[in-house]
């Protein structure tokens, strides 16, 4: 049997990581959560993830840079953008850069979970 799908959550707001990590783990994913985008980038370099869930506006490399990095290193990783209202334009840019979807905050945990499930189970792009 294949191992659990791996998900990396990156958001500089600890509350987002604290909420998403246990919720997604409970749904059967292997989850690593980071509030520091540099550390997250390092981890993305050494480990392939099925799904990257990232915020856009952050200190250090921002979401768009992390997205570019992932798309270079592991093009098959699905990238989901979670973002505040203020950065919807940037989110569009992220879609053009290869993100599969963006979910504005606040969002329901189940909405993100359902999206990740469909990405992991569905056909690869």
């Amino acid at each position: 049997m294949k191992g659990k799908p791996r998900v990396l959550v990156l958001d500089d707001e600890p509350i987002v990581c604290e909420r998403l990590k246990p919720a997604l783990e409970k749904s059967g994913f292997e989850v690593e959560a980071f509030t520091d985008s540099r550390k997250a980038s390092d981890r993305l370099m050494e480990q392939r993830f099925d799904v990257l869930v990232t915020d856009l506006k952050m200190q250090g490399p921002d979401g768009l840079e992390v997205l570019r990095l992932v798309k270079e290193r592991a093009p098959s990783t699905h990238v989901v953008i979670i973002t505040g209202f203020a950065t919807v334009d940037t989110a569009r840019e992220a879609m053009r850069g290869g993100a599969v979807d963006f979910i504005p905050k606040p969002f329901r945990i189940s909405q993100l979970r359902d999206l990740i499930v469909s990405l992991v189970e569905g056909p690869k792009p």
């Binding site: 958001d11 509350i15 998403l20 990590k21 919720a23 409970k26 606040p106």
Partner: protein, 853 residues
């Protein structure tokens, strides 16, 4: 009430009256949109408290901005419609916006109000005023979880007064200026200066008097009692960050309470606290606290209990540390104490026991304070608590845990009469171990699933218990606490039962409704709108409701419950959730409930909800008033409609709403060409819908209607008044004042169907809250059955439906017409809950007359 046209521009009224109505209708549409937008945002903010949403501080700030902008646009539209009649409302928006922003910036904040609050008047809603410790103790007492000492809180408002008197704000300002100038000020020196100022300043007289009166009150209840005076920090963050840094005075003699208060307040600026604030980037002088004054329990034994073993929660034990005398010895941790482990299962037998050799104990000193004395030789190695008392302690703290919905650390004491007191309770902050999470995952994979992903989560959490189904007429008050409540409808009458339930599942209902809000208030896991839960979950069966995952399992999945008790992400304690809760208090409560009441003024608007309610009401009033013009002789635009029901209706034709007729001949329904108005008239005039004569009022209904400020003589005669229909071929705005009710229908109806919408608003109504609540329940039940999305409170029901085909829209409008006639006097008739179902059924079956017999 002077009409706008008569006051403002009488000379132009006749020339452009219909054109003006047209313009105002446009303004109104903008206002209604803004109003709806604000309501939606408020509802969403309430829903976010349920834990299903992920959000951060930025989301809250964005939401606050959006709310502010929407409220401003509503006020702008109102002033545009009314010729700038409400400049004070602009100030009200400024005021609310400023207080929301202060909340978001987490500046210490003291709600206006009492300087002293007795403990028995405290609930969690006062946390901002009395601090966390006192708010929790107060609500534990209120919900009968345990006995707590007598006492009172000196509030944050008192502290602010005191600090102002002591000149703290000036020092704070100087510190800020120094910071901006790049001068590195010394936190140690700042601490010394602030503490010296506080200690040198007498407690303000109004605070001192209130404290002394409260102390005298305690003395009368318990002569000779001494007090414990300590901080009750504001905000969970404060409680955690400054634990042990603030001063505590035990065994304080009543005359010394003010001095103890001063010492505790001064510790707000102790060197450690000031340094911490500086390092955390906070303003070190910008601080407040509430202070708890509780009578000391003359304890023969006391200690601390953890409701789980923090190192291995799967052991299912409570851990008790106990000693003779006062608990300071246990909390201090400097002397050997007895340790017990008890089973979490009743009757809570002792599973392990370590009795220490207790040579010393703390007792109250003869001249105040606490003294350490020797334990008599023969008693040193005897247990400080009996097994019976331990079992009682276990049952009590588990009640506290159930109410708080998380593992607890509880300070307790037993007095010479064997009375058990809870002195303090706080969440045991632990992370569920990976092992425990694994156990929970395995247990849930084995447990039979009864329901999955049906309905929507209104409040996250896990609860287990025996199912109690409520499908109709059951007595809600008789429902035992701790049951899993499974209800057909989200009836408001279940509110009390929900607050005590282990979990809530409903067939029908919304996450923004009243019952969902109650569930969130009491942190009761809740799944709403699950369709046929009452059929799937059988009465009397034990189930586990996992409202984290939206699953219901058969049986009790104890591993899941244990994991839940220890979840660090118990969301409701997260700073963002606390912030949202505080923010909601600034935006959501509706204080302006009665448009006829003395408080219905812009100056009284304290929340966004108040503001939009005021604006909407005034806009509707202005519109309705504005059309109360006497039609110009021969006017082709304004008509009085004659129908075979006792309803005066003035029809203003915006174009295409009325077929031409002979001058001077009243308008009859057959000449109405406005599609939506025709449909409503058809409904209104349906045989049997319109009860003749006033409904009989029973005494309760009559008496409660007396307390309302309407002119009763008019109301009892049910004289129709101020009814206006503004209509074009495909648009209708209808405002009807019928007896006690104020109905508004705003709709657009075209053959294409794409833009079809119906907005129905029902407000007002005499009689007391319970009947109004029933009436709202009835209306929502009927409207929901006809596919409307509904919202609102007891005295306000708003229903919307959009984008339906032409034929469906016509039928729905006819239904609205029938409903308006049908519900005209319902609140007087709705004497008990059973009638809600029965009347809804008779309406839906077309037996309108049945209700009035």
């Amino acid at each position: 009430m002077a009409g706008f046209w008569r006051r403002a521009r009488p000379e132009r009224r006749e020339e452009d009256s219909v054109a003006a109505v047209r313009r105002r209708i446009e303004g109104l549409r903008g206002l209604v949109d803004g109003n709806n937008h604000v309501l939606e945002l408020i509802a969403k903010a309430g829903e976010m408290l349920g834990g299903e949403y992920v959000f951060d501080r930025n989301s809250l700030a964005a939401m606050a901005e959006e709310l502010d902008a929407a409220a401003r646009s509503v006020v702008f539209d109102l002033n545009a419609i009314t010729g700038d009649r409400y400049p004070e409302l602009v100030e009200a928006v400024e005021r609310v916006g400023a207080s929301v922003r202060a909340t978001l910036e987490s500046r210490p904040f003291a709600p206006e109000g009492e300087v002293v609050v007795p403990l028995d008047g405290i609930g969690e809603e006062l946390a901002d005023a009395v601090g966390e410790k006192m708010a929790r103790l107060g609500s534990l007492q209120k919900h009968a979880c345990c006995r707590v000492p007598e006492g009172f809180a000196v509030t944050a408002a008192a502290c602010r007064l005191y600090l102002e008197r002591a000149g703290v704000p000036a020092v704070a300002e100087r510190w800020r200026l120094q910071g901006r100038a790049g001068e590195a000020a010394d936190p140690g020196a700042l601490s010394a200066e602030l503490q010296a100022r506080v200690k040198a300043t007498p407690v303000p007289r109004e605070v001192a008097r209130a404290v002394q009166a409260a102390v005298r009150g305690l003395g009368r209840a318990a002569p000779g009692a001494r007090l414990a005076v300590r901080s009750s920090a504001l905000g969970e963050d404060g409680e955690v960050s400054f634990a042990g840094q603030y001063a505590t005075r035990l065994g304080v003699d009543p005359p010394d309470v003010l001095e103890a208060y001063r010492e505790v307040v001064a510790s707000l600026f102790s060197p450690g606290v000031v340094r911490y604030r500086v390092s955390a980037g906070l303003d070190p002088a910008d601080a407040l606290m509430a202070v708890a004054c509780l009578t000391m329990v003359p304890a023969v034994a006391s200690g601390v209990v953890h409701t789980v073993d923090p190192t291995d929660p799967s052991r299912r034990v409570l851990q008790v540390a106990a000693t003779r005398g006062l608990g300071s010895a246990v909390v201090g941790g400097d002397v050997p104490v007895d340790r017990f482990e008890l089973s979490r299962e009743a009757p809570h037998p002792v599973v392990s026991r370590h009795v220490a050799d207790k040579r010393v104990m703390d007792v109250m000193g003869r001249r105040g304070g606490v003294e350490r004395t020797e334990v008599p030789e023969g008693e040193r190695d005897r247990p400080s608590v009996s097994d019976d008392d331990l079992a009682r302690l276990a049952a009590t703290v588990l009640r506290v845990e159930r109410y708080m919905k998380s593992a607890q650390e509880v300070e307790w004491a037993i007095d010479g009469h064997g009375e058990l007191f809870v002195l303090q309770a706080r969440p045991l902050r632990l992370d569920a171990s990976p092992a425990l999470r694994r156990d929970a995952a395995e247990a849930t994979s084995r447990a039979p699933v009864l329901m999955r992903d049906r309905g929507v989560v209104a409040c996250r959490g896990v609860g287990a218990g025996v199912v109690k189904t409520v499908t109709g007429l059951e007595d809600a008050l008789g429902i035992e606490p701790g049951r899993v409540l499974v209800a057909r409808l989200s009836s408001p009458r279940l509110a009390a039962a929900v607050s005590r339930a282990a979990a809530l599942v409903t067939d029908i209902g919304t996450t923004t409704g009243h019952l969902a809000a109650i569930a969130r208030e009491f942190r009761v896991p809740a799944i709403m709108d699950a369709g046929d839960a009452t059929r799937i979950l059988t009465d009397g069966a034990e189930v586990t409701v996992d409202a984290e995952e939206n699953v219901v399992y058969a049986g009790c999945v104890s591993e899941l419950l244990e994991e839940q008790l220890l979840r660090r992400d118990t969301y409701s304690d997260a700073p963002e959730f606390r912030l949202l809760r505080r923010m909601l208090k600034k935006i959501a409560p509706l204080n302006l409930k009665d448009p006829g009441g003395p408080d219905f003024f812009p100056q009284r608007c304290t929340t966004y909800h108040d503001i939009i309610r005021f604006a909407h009401e005034k806009a509707m009033e202005d519109l309705a008033e504005g059309q109360r013009l006497t039609p110009r002789a021969g006017s082709r635009d304004v008509h009085r409609l004659e129908m075979n029901v006792p309803l005066d209706l003035l029809v203003i034709d915006l174009g295409g709403g009325v077929a031409p007729g002979e001058d001077g001949v009243p308008l009859t329904p057959d000449r109405v060409t406005s599609r939506p108005l025709r449909a409503v008239i058809e409904g209104l005039t349906t045989e049997g819908v319109w009860a003749r004569g006033p409904a009989d009022m029973d005494l309760d209904g009559f008496l409660s209607s007396m307390t309302r400020s309407h002119a009763l003589t008019d109301q009892l005669a049910l004289r129709p008044d101020m009814n206006v229909a503004i209509a074009s071929a495909d648009y209708l705005n209808l405002s009807l004042r019928l007896g006690y009710h104020f109905n508004i229908v705003d709709c657009y109806l075209s053959e294409s169907g794409r833009d079809n919408h119906i907005y129905f608003r029902f407000a007002g109504g005499v009689t007391e809250m319970t009947r109004r609540t029933r009436r709202a329940a009835l209306l929502r039940q009927i409207l929901t059955a006809h596919d409307f999305a509904t919202e609102g409170s007891a005295d306000l029901v708003i229903a919307r439906i959009k984008k339906m085909p032409y034929e469906v829209a016509v039928e729905r409008l006819r239904m609205i017409g029938r409903l308006i006639g049908f519900t005209r006097q319902l609140d007087v008739l709705l004497r008990d809950d059973r009638l809600v179902e029965r009347l809804a059924a008779s309406f839906n079956q077309g037996r309108y007359g049945a209700a009035f017999r």
